[in-house]
Symmetry: C2
Subunit: 385 residues, 2 copies
Amino acid sequence: MKFTIHRQSFMNQLANVTRAVPVKATIPVLTGIKIVAQEDGITLIGSDAEISIEAFLNIQDEAYQLEIIEPGSIVVTARLFSEIIKKLPTDIITIETDEQYLLTIRSGQAVFNLNGIDGQSYPHLPEIVAESTLELPTLLFRDLINQTIFSASNQESRPVLTGLHLSSSDHFLSGVATDSHRLSRRMIPVKYSQEELNFESINIPKKTVQELSRIIEDEDQLKMMVADKQVIFTMDNLVIYSRLLEGNYPDTNRLIPQDHQTEIVVDSQEFLAAIERASLMSHQGKNNVVQLDINDQKVELLVNSNERGQASEIIEVKSAEGDDLKISFNPDYMKDALKSFGPIDIHIGFQTPVRPLLLTPAEKNENESANNQLLQLLTPIRTHY
Amino acid sequence: MKFTIHRQSFMNQLANVTRAVPVKATIPVLTGIKIVAQEDGITLIGSDAEISIEAFLNIQDEAYQLEIIEPGSIVVTARLFSEIIKKLPTDIITIETDEQYLLTIRSGQAVFNLNGIDGQSYPHLPEIVAESTLELPTLLFRDLINQTIFSASNQESRPVLTGLHLSSSDHFLSGVATDSHRLSRRMIPVKYSQEELNFESINIPKKTVQELSRIIEDEDQLKMMVADKQVIFTMDNLVIYSRLLEGNYPDTNRLIPQDHQTEIVVDSQEFLAAIERASLMSHQGKNNVVQLDINDQKVELLVNSNERGQASEIIEVKSAEGDDLKISFNPDYMKDALKSFGPIDIHIGFQTPVRPLLLTPAEKNENESANNQLLQLLTPIRTHY
C-alpha cells in the first residue's frame, strides 16, 4: 500500500473514525484503525464491535489531494497514528507499508515507522440488508438527540433504558430517553408516512447517537437504514454502523400528565441561573435536593439546612396559577431539562408533590406543530420536612 | 460584620487569596478564608500554613464600591463561598454575620447562609521583621520564575532542590532551579548593590513563586522583603508570605560547561516541533529517550526501535561545527528548555556524550548583558546502542 494525501483533511477523517475506537479492547486489533487503499480512494474504519465508523476519502474529492500509488490495507494503532499525523511538518504526507506490515509515514525530513497488522485480520463490518433508506432532516434529528439523550440511564441493569427510543408515526419521529427518574421526549416531522418509515420503534445505544451528533456537519445529508438488530447512519462520506439495544421499551406515553393543578411560567435562563446557585448548596448535603414553594403567586426556591448552610431565593415568574404546592426535586436534572429548551419561556405543570412535573415551551413557536414538540418530565423527590 | 461590595471585584481578590487555600488541611480552619472588615477596608486571608496570601480591599478604591456597615471578622469555607459569589445575580452584594458565626450573603432575591467560624480562631500570620524592602522589576522577575522553576525537583528527599535558589550579586539577581538531571539559570538586573540587597541567597518554595507568577499583574509594583526563614512579596494590594526552604543549595556554577567540542545553532520553534514529534514515539518505549546524531554538518534526531516502531528526522540547523557526536537525552526536558527561550535561535554546546549539554541564545539581544542571561543545562542519558 502506498499513497500521498493532504495531512489536515486526512486527520479530520481519522479523528471521526477514531471516535469509535476503544482505549482498551478485549480484541486487541480493535484498538487500531483499518486503512484500505483502493483505486477510487481510501477507506478508514474504527470499531468497538458495537459501533463502527467508516470514512471514505474519495480520490475525486480535491480536498484530500489523494494519490494512490499502490493499493493495499493495514491495521495500525489508532491513537499514536493520529497523534503523529497531527504533528507532522508538511501539508502533503506519504504513507506506505511493506510485506512485514511495517507502516512508514514520511513528511518533509521526518520518517516514522509503525508496526502494523495485516488488514485481513480486522473484523468484517456486518453486511446489512435494509429494506429502505430514509432521508432525515439533519438539524432536527441532531436536536432530537441532544434534547433527549442526557435522560438515558447509565445503569446496565436494564440495557434498553441506556439508549434512545425512536418510534415512527405518520410523518413524524418521536425520540424518548428515560432513566425512570426523568424523561425527555422530542418529536420531529419527517417526509414519510408510517408505512414508508417501515419500522415501528428501535432502541439506539447512547454512544451511537452521541457520536453521530458530534460528527455530523450541518450541511450533511443524513440517511438512516434500519435492519434487523442494526441501524446504519450515512452522511456525506461517513457511515456509522451500530447494533440496536434489545428488550421492550416501557410505554412512556401513559406517564405524561395530561393536566395540572398548579402551573408557573418562567424564563428558562433566569430559572436555570437560580437552580445553579441553589445546587451549589444542595450539593453540600447528603441529599442533592431543592424545594420549590409555590404560595399564592409567590414562588420560592429553597435548599434546606445542611452541614454547610442553607439557601433561598424568590423566583421571578411570568405567571403562577392554581393550588399552593411544595415540591422537591434533583436540581441537576432540572438544569439538564431547562438547558434543552434554549432561551425561551417555559411552562411547568404540577399535579401533587409526588407526581411528575412537566416542562414544555410556554408559547408555541411558528414551527411547532403536534409533530414538532419537546417535553421534559421530572419525578419529584419525596422529602419529610 | 456587615458590608456591601461590588461582586466581580470582590471575586477577583477572593480568587487570588483562595490560591493559597489547600483542598484538604490537617488544620481544618485552613480550608477557609478569613474575612476582616475594618473601617478602612476588607482584608482577605488564605493560607496553607507555609504560604499565606493576603488581599486588602481599600475602601478608597472605587472599583470595590465598598461600604462597611459594621466591622468584624469571620472564617468561611473558601471554595463554596467563592462559587456562590461567582454565581450571584447582582453587581452589588451584601455580606453579614451574626453572633453565631452564621454568614449571610444577599444578592437580589437570593439569600445564602453559610456556617462560619470565629475569625479569632484563624492562625495569626507571622510578624516579620525585614531589614529592607527591595523593589524588583516585575516583568523580569516573573520571567526569572517562569524560565527556571520547571527544573525544580518534585522529590521531597532533598527539599532544598524543590524550590527556586535566588542569590544576590552586585546589581543583579540570579535564579537557579535544578532536579540534578537538568538546570535552569536566569539572571536579571536590579538597581541595588550586593550590600543593599542585604541577603546572600534564599530558597523559595516552588508553590510560592508559581502563585506569585500567576497572581502578579504587569503593572504591579513588586517588592520583596527577606527575613529569617521567611520571604514576603508585596504587590499593589496583595501580600504573599512564605517560609523559605532550609538546607544548603549545591554550588551549581561549577556544573556549567565553559567550552564545547561540538556546537549547533537551531531555530527554537522548529527544533521544538521535531522534538515533540519524536517524543510521541519515545513515550511508547520503556525509556523515554531520543538521540541526536551529529555527523559532518548533518544533524539527525532518532528514536530507536521500540514495541510500537521508530522515528527519525534530519534537523535543519543554522550551523553545525566541531566533532561528530551521538548523544541521548530526555525529550520532555528538552521541550521545557526550548520553550523557556521563546522563538529565537538557540546555541547548543556539547562536550562528550556523557557531559551536560548547554542551551543559550545564539545571539545576544540588545537588552542582554552579563547580568541578564538565560541558560538551560541538560544531563544526557547514557545508552548502549
